[in-house]
């Protein structure tokens, strides 16, 4: 009987769950996942979440990104309270959304709004890979479309920072249709002669890569960002050949003519400002 008691206890030893791992508060120090360099978290944040030693670009939350780009106090958010429904009645989907809302303190995988970047007015959308891997369902598609419509109405450039694993499986065909929806809006924006800049950050794959992310007037990317249509594993299984080390990185895309420029995070605001200036100069 005593033996049973111990056996039972062993069986129920706590293993930290995925959720708990995410909930670990950020410590005083942070170790770079690439080069193992140990930094003060405060210093890392001051350095735009770029490793001081190897220049690894940490993922940024939507608001960290916006904060790093726009003029202080200039950001007005759109559709902050739009949330997903469960159109296919997918078991567990609403719970997953709720848990991601708690975890990320945002309502969906994209934040949209208008702002100024060094006094150049823009409409901006920033995806957040912490929320359901940045996947695109109805809300992401609708928020981006509405942001583009605002840009059309206000005759402003539209800038998007993508970070997404692709379409959101749990919303099925509705997710796929968001690719078409954002495209019809971008076409209208483009036909008005307005500027669209796409900046691909880690990761930009699947349905997001195969829609708005790839059709900017300028396609930029952050260093080493994973960008591609199909997943590496799927490709390896399909073609049974070795893939190069840098396969589907920003640098790989640049080499194959798919990008205009790879821009390190420190130069992002300045480069965007230059592009915006050149474009506003033409109209003046």
């Amino acid at each position: 009987m005593l033996k049973d008691f111990f056996a039972k206890k062993k069986k129920y030893a706590t293993i930290p769950t995925e959720k708990m791992k995410h909930d670990v508060p950020e410590g005083l120090m942070t170790k770079c996942p690439e080069c193992k360099h140990i930094m003060y978290t405060k210093e890392l944040k001051k350095n735009l979440l770029v490793c001081q030693s190897c220049h690894y670009h940490y993922p940024m939350s939507s608001f960290e990104r916006i904060g790093s780009l726009v003029d202080e106090g200039s950001f007005t958010e759109y559709d902050r309270n739009m949330i997903s429904e469960n159109p296919l009645e997918f078991p567990g989907y609403l719970e997953k959304l709720e848990s991601d809302r708690m975890k990320t303190k945002i309502n969906e995988a994209v934040v949209t709004g208008d702002a100024t970047i060094n006094e150049n007015p823009v409409v901006i959308a920033v995806m957040d890979s912490r929320f359901r891997m940045g996947s695109m369902g109805s809300v992401v598609g609708e928020k981006i479309t509405r942001a583009i419509e605002q840009a059309i109405e206000k005759e402003l450039p539209f800038i998007i920072f993508t970070a997404s694993g692709g379409a959101r499986m749990q919303e099925g065909i509705l997710s796929l249709m968001q690719m078409a929806k954002t495209s019809v809006a971008l076409k209208r924006h483009s036909d008005r002669g307005l500027l669209f800049i796409s900046v691909m950050t880690h990761p930009t794959t699947g349905g997001v890569s195969a829609s708005f992310a790839s059709v900017g007037d300028y396609n930029f990317a952050e260093p080493k960002a994973l960008i591609g249509f199909a997943g590496r594993r799927v490709i390896e299984q399909t073609i049974r050949e070795d893939l190069p080390e840098d396969f589907q990185t920003a640098e790989f895309l640049l080499k194959h003519g798919q990008l205009d420029k790879v821009i390190p995070r420190h130069e992002m605001k300045e480069t965007l400002t230059n592009v915006l200036k050149i474009h506003s100069g033409r109209r003046a």
Partner: protein, 325 residues
């Protein structure tokens, strides 16, 4: 009986029994007419019951039937004087997408479709109907040409997906599909899209942004194949059947969700039982779509596409007090 599917097995067995009885009657000269008639009645009831209650997975099987009519099969029934046109003028020719010009009744049209092979050899040549970027770019070239000459575009969708390979990534599979979505959004001529078999994800959508989108009754259209969904959602690709049932991928489902305009009924048991009759049913739908869309101006066509896609999606709002932040 060609390529019988699992869910049709009781039908096959009953047919076999009837055939046996008939030959027995002929051989022995015994009159079994009553028995045969009663079995034939049972067969007809069984067929009705089976084909009217097909599960999503049954339909996926029909959509993948090796003898299911392909794009080129339908082209031969639907378009007179068809001339196939090749190449994207940029890199190469992709035989996973066919395209060309022809006459639909008295109307010149451009036709584009994904093309599976009808046997192994052809499947290798056509990459099993999985296009590379040059296929999508050829499609776009033909659409722009259609726009120049004011011809409606008819797209027949049938693919397991855009090809997931190294060469496709290097040449910009994402950009090729994305570009088509944007350009199809703005095309100044009517676009009619019909899913005739498998409609897998971005690979299908790359020729699928239309004024009207229709689906054959036993085709499927989804953000991902049932196998892919099963492996992502449950880490188990053998749960494809479950994924097919839960992801709403059939024509009746998509009609109900408001994603497609018309579900085109199939001949009993599936299009492969009578391709010519199936082509006639498709012809009628194209005809009525064209009649409707030819009345719209260039601007109205673009506007109609805008409104159509703008309305797709389900979402709600929470009020400030319970929203996060």
């Amino acid at each position: 009986m060609v390529g019988e599917l699992e869910f049709e097995r009781p039908i096959t067995e009953l047919k076999k029994k009837i055939a046996e009885l008939k030959s027995f009657m002929d051989e022995k000269g015994i009159d079994l007419t009553d028995e045969i008639t009663s079995l034939e009645e049972r067969l007809s009831a069984l067929q009705n019951d089976t084909y009217e209650n097909m599960s999503a997975w049954d339909r996926v099987q029909v959509a993948r039937h090796p003898e299911r009519p392909t794009t080129l099969d339908y082209i031969s029934y639907l378009f007179k004087d068809f001339i196939e046109l090749h190449g994207d003028r940029l890199y190469g020719e992709d035989e996973a997408i066919v395209g060309g010009i022809g006459m639909f009744h008295d109307q010149p049209v451009t036709v584009i479709g994904q093309q599976r092979g009808r046997d192994t050899k052809e499947n290798i040549r056509r990459n099993f109907g999985m296009p590379h970027p040059e296929g999508y770019r050829k499609a776009l070239r033909l659409m722009k040409q259609a726009e120049k000459f004011s011809r409606p575009v008819i797209c027949l969708m049938d693919t397991k997906g855009a090809f997931p390979g190294k060469s496709a990534e290097e040449r910009g599979q994402s950009e090729a599909i994305a570009r088509n979505l944007v350009e199809m959004a703005g095309l100044h001529v009517p676009i009619i899209c019909i899913v005739i078999g498998e409609g897998a994800s971005g690979g299908a959508l790359g020729i699928g942004v239309g004024n009207h989108v229709h689906m054959l009754e036993n085709s499927w259209y989804s953000v991902i194949s049932p196998e892919g969904a099963a492996s992502i959602l449950w880490k188990d690709s053998t749960k494809a059947k479950l994924a097919a049932e839960s992801m709403k991928i059939t024509a009746p489902d998509l009609k109900e969700l408001g994603i497609i305009d018309e579900m085109i009924p199939e001949v009993k048991g599936g299009a492969h039982h009578d391709p010519e009759e199936q082509a006639k049913r498709i012809e009628a739908v194209i005809q009525s779509s064209l009649e409707e869309l030819m009345n719209l101006s260039e601007e109205e066509l673009v506007e109609q596409r805008y409104e159509k896609y703008k309305n797709m999606g389900e979402f709600t709002f929470v009020n400030d007090s319970i929203a996060v932040k």
